[in-house]
Amino acid sequence: MTPAPEVRTLTPRHSLELLAQMLRIRQFEDRCAQLYTEQKIRGFLHLYNGEEAVAVGIMQALGPDDAVVATYREHGHALARGVPMNALMAEMYGKRTGCSGGRGGSMHVFDVSRRFYGGNAIVGGGLPIAAGLALAEKLAGRAGLAACFFGEGAVAEGEFHETLNLASLWRLPVLFVCENNLYAMGTALARSEAVTDIRAKAAAYGIASAAIDGMDVQAVEEAARGAVQAIRNGGGPQFLECRTYRLRAHSMFDAQLYRDKAEVEEWRKRGPLITFTSRCKALGLITEEDFLRLEREAAAEVDAAVRFAEASEWEPVETLRRFVLAEPRA
């Protein structure tokens, strides 16, 4: 694992920004867990607790014209990308004001105005799409790229290998971001991969790759900026393996029989919020008051989002058959 780079460029303002983003995600996810138990949110709900640094760090390096493809654990990515929390929460509820019109729910968050091409609930299903988005940028002669998030479980899928090969062969502007949280649902990496060094798999396809500490937002940001710069310089696809940990269960319906509580507690101490906050405090970048204020602001935003979602209307049942095929845009 690459050691965390020294903190040189971090300003108080940027550190507050990073912390605020991660706090928003954390509080949003905790509220979602609560709302799920209250049956306000249904279906499968996969929470991002513990992995906030990855989404927040990567997004710092992306421009508004870059495309993002995420997984079914994508609330954090959506928030970090700028999808409004109101629209995201309304989507959790399935309300018509949701960012996918309520039809997608937790696993299918879309916001094309922000080039956010969705949560994909088929493991590995997003990778080829990201390659296609990147191909379009390349063919159009634009500088944009496609950032593709996926878990380490996807590495076992054929689509992972097929897409890496294709992206490398065609030198497509794809930033592959593997969120290695060590468990594909309940299967530990070592139980599903003969070679657990994922970075090495990408390297085997001739893709520049690095493994970084996915719990350190600063490290993620720095690696992402480097990788993005390499892509924009025509270096072809880049691959970041972000080593992280899922602090909550895979989904709400998970007894976590596959891992020890002690292991979770150990990782909790290394959680991205804790480590980044204490580092910034130590460097004098933020104060405890700053942290509490950000927490309050995030809570207030979540409260407002819940109120918005609650107050929003359901999509009329008569519209059931809408959107099966493309509709003329208004």
């Binding site: 249904r42 696993m107 594909a184 049942v317 059931l320």
Partner: protein, 323 residues
């Protein structure tokens, strides 16, 4: 009393106890206990050799199941949900379904593939499919859909006795349903009449069976007696039973959670037309899932799926007589 989930597990346990050549593999079937907790505790009982967690490599492990079956083992492959089976469709269709034929009968594939199917849990458009009718399109496969507790336990054993690939579709909405086990022998050849009636035959299977039985109870209160036929095996279809029933009631209503276009329900309707046209007293009707990817919100999902109300209304319209 036993739940559908427990019955599935019991079926697995019996199969694993009975035959050492039987083993189970699939995503998170071991340590996790199965995505739907069907395989919970089996790892402890049978060990990691026979309860094999697989990587998320559907094509590979389904294909491996085919190979193991060719070599004399009796693999049970669990695919977490039917939508993931599409990642293994190549192996299922191009290999499992065809090896026997294209080898001139040398390579039958005694493979059992289990998978969760169906909607109703607000899992949205990528986790709510009912593709069993699709698979029933394919020669070389046997497709079964247990609805009752009895079938949930017994169909696996019957499938393992089949020399051909059998796909078992376990509906997620049934997992918590409870019932009694009678211990009756279970086959995977015949349909079953779950409720006799004189006015109309409802052809259905899987979770829709219980919607139809609820509808039948409501209709009975209105003096309309519908016969509820559980198809059980979707390929090959039990034409004899279907036609016998339709010839008796003269009306057929097909209730299928699949989409209607190019579907199992279309196939059933066509067979009835071919074999029992002159016995029909009303146009064949269907209650199927709306032709839309399943939406997430409950009210839209409910509206998309066959409902008891829709079944009742359709049946009423079919037997209606103008005074």
């Amino acid at each position: 009393m036993m739940s559908y989930r427990e019955a599935l597990r019991e079926g697995l346990r019996e199969a694993l106890q009975k035959d050492p050549k039987v083993f189970l593999m699939g995503e998170d079937v071991g340590r996790y206990g199965g995505c739907y907790a069907v395989t919970k505790n089996l790892l402890a009982e049978f060990g990691a050799e026979r309860i094999r967690d697989t990587p998320l490599s559907e094509s590979a492990f389904v294909g491996a199941g085919i190979g193991a079956a060719l070599a004399g083992l009796r693999p049970i492959v669990e695919i977490m949900t039917v939508n993931f089976s599409l990642l293994a469709l190549d192996q299922i269709l191009n290999n499992a379904a065809t090896l026997c034929h294209m080898s001139g009968g040398q390579c039958p594939v005694p493979l059992v593939i289990r998978m969760a199917t169906g909607a109703g849990r607000q899992l949205a458009a990528q986790h709510s499919h009912s593709f069993e009718g699709w698979y029933a399109h394919i020669p070389g496969l046997r497709i079964v859909a247990p609805a009752t507790i009895e079938d949930a336990r017994g169909m696996l054993g019957a499938a393992l006795r089949s020399p051909d690939p059998v796909l078992i579709f376990e509906h997620i909405a049934l997992l918590n349903r409870e019932g009694e086990l009678t211990g009756a022998a279970v086959d995977i050849d015949k349909g079953a009449i779950r409720r006799p009636g004189r006015d109309l035959t409802v052809l259905t299977y899987g979770a829709s069976l219980f919607k139809c039985l609820d509808a039948a109870a409501q209709l009975a209160a209105a003096g309309i007696e519908i016969e509820v036929l559980d198809l059980r095996t979707l390929r090959p279809l039990d034409d004899a039973l279907i036609m016998e029933s339709v010839r008796r009631t003269h009306r057929a209503l097909i209730v299928d959670e699949g989409w209607r276009s190019g579907s199992l329900s279309a196939e059933l309707g066509m067979r009835i037309v071919e074999q029992a046209f002159f016995d029909l007293d009303a146009p064949i009707a269907r209650v199927c899932t709306a032709e839309v990817p399943i939406p997430y919100p409950k009210h839209l999902e409910d509206a998309a799926l066959p409902s008891v109300e829709e079944i009742v209304a359709t049946a009423r319209a079919m037997v209606a007589h103008e005074s």
